[in-house]
């Protein structure tokens, strides 16, 4: 057995030197149905969003729609690989007015369960290409209420992303929900 008291063996590597992966801001929305990251600086290469979520919708799970820069035109496409209990499926949506694919525990799920998700938005500030991202999202609360999803999505715009808006489909998010946005620098 190896016991590792932290701080004794911890080492700083060049790959994670100060400022390569920076927190932009953390939101802790509560009892709201819409919230946004605004004025996102364009000084990074990629964005990463890390979150834990639960809603108050009177069901076992809930979802969001997401837009970039307030764009509600038919510029979003996404594709997913999803598991729910023993069912596995894949789906795609083209030319949607938002991204919609995330799922989280809601009011009828067992207490204290929140989803986890990590969303990587690549080259978000690059004005020479459309924006692509990948999302890993999931929760498990009971035998009949669990989902795990891998999504890829695109926003067909060359504009730098400076705003990300989440709209709860039904209800609102509850206390304990947390969204942290990070910027990842290039070389």
């Amino acid at each position: 057995m190896s016991l590792l008291p932290l701080g004794i063996i911890g080492q700083v590597s060049a790959a994670t030197s100060a400022g390569a992966y920076e927190l932009i801001t953390t939101l802790t929305p509560n009892a709201v149905s819409s919230f946004s990251f605004t004025s996102i600086p364009s000084t990074y290469t990629h964005l990463q969003l890390r979150a834990t979520v639960r809603g108050n919708y009177s069901s076992t799970n809930m979802g969001f729609t997401v837009t970039f820069n307030g764009d509600t035109a038919a510029n979003y496409s996404y594709h997913n690989l999803r598991g729910a209990n023993s069912a596995i499926s894949s789906g795609a949506t083209a030319s949607a007015s938002n991204y919609s694919g995330l799922s989280h525990p809601a009011n009828m799920a067992a207490a204290n369960y929140f989803s986890g998700f990590v969303w990587d938005i690549l080259d978000y500030a690059n004005t020479n290409k459309f924006k692509t991202s990948k999302i890993f999202n999931g929760f498990v609360t009971a035998s009949n209420n669990n989902q795990i999803t891998y999504d890829s999505s695109s926003w067909r715009s060359t504009a730098a992303i400076n705003q990300i808006t989440f709209n709860v489909v039904v209800g609102s998010v509850v206390t304990g929900t947390r969204f942290s946005l990070y910027g990842i620098k290039g070389a």
């Binding site: 057995m1 932290l6 100060a18 400022g19 927190l23 834990t52 598991g83 986890g116 890993f136 035998s143």
Partner: protein, 167 residues
């Protein structure tokens, strides 16, 4: 946290000099919001590798997987996993195969208002690829992570790295 300060802090990094059955990160500071664990590890023989939070060997760990083994894609729920997350890294490679790569995102590990969701990704060269969501049903802050090569040992050269993510 001011701009220009890294939000990703290396906390520990271990390369095994010889085979051993268990690796433990202990006394994990609660100063961060998430943990990220990166394993590149093999086992010396077949076995049910597992990991535990805070040495909890009695709680029911819930997990749900999405995986492919080279011929079949499947999803599986398991709510009867008492005492640790066993069999959850797909299957470990047999001796002589490349090590398995595992990344764990332990969300809100230091927050005491919720059970802990953990996102896991595993790639095993000879066994497949796996994505998994895990819930450890406790509101207690996580201060210890233990990785055990059940019935086997981790191979020499296996690496275990732990990072703290600030928020």
């Amino acid at each position: 946290m001011p701009a220009g300060v890294s939000a990703l802090t290396p906390l520990a990094n271990l390369t095994l000099g010889s085979a051993q059955a268990t690796v433990t990160f202990s006394s994990i500071s609660s100063a961060y919001r998430d943990l990220r664990v990166v394993l590149v590890a093999g086992v010396t023989s077949g076995g049910a590798a597992y990991w535990r939070m805070n040495n909890d060997s009695t709680s029911t760990y819930l997990w749900h997987t999405l995986e492919g083994n080279g011929s079949t894609a499947s999803a599986t729920y398991n709510g009867n996993n008492y005492g640790g997350m066993n069999n959850n890294f797909v299957a470990w490679p047999t001796a002589g195969n490349p090590p398995t790569i595992v990344t764990l995102d332990v969300m809100d590990y230091s927050i005491t208002d919720k059970f802990k969701p953990i996102l896991s990704r595993t790639n095993a060269k000879n066994n497949g690829t796996n994505a998994m969501i895990v819930h450890w049903p406790s509101t207690t802050a996580i201060n210890t992570l233990t990785f055990t090569a059940g019935g086997s040992t981790w191979t020499a050269g296996s690496t275990f790295a732990l990072y703290g993510v600030s928020a």
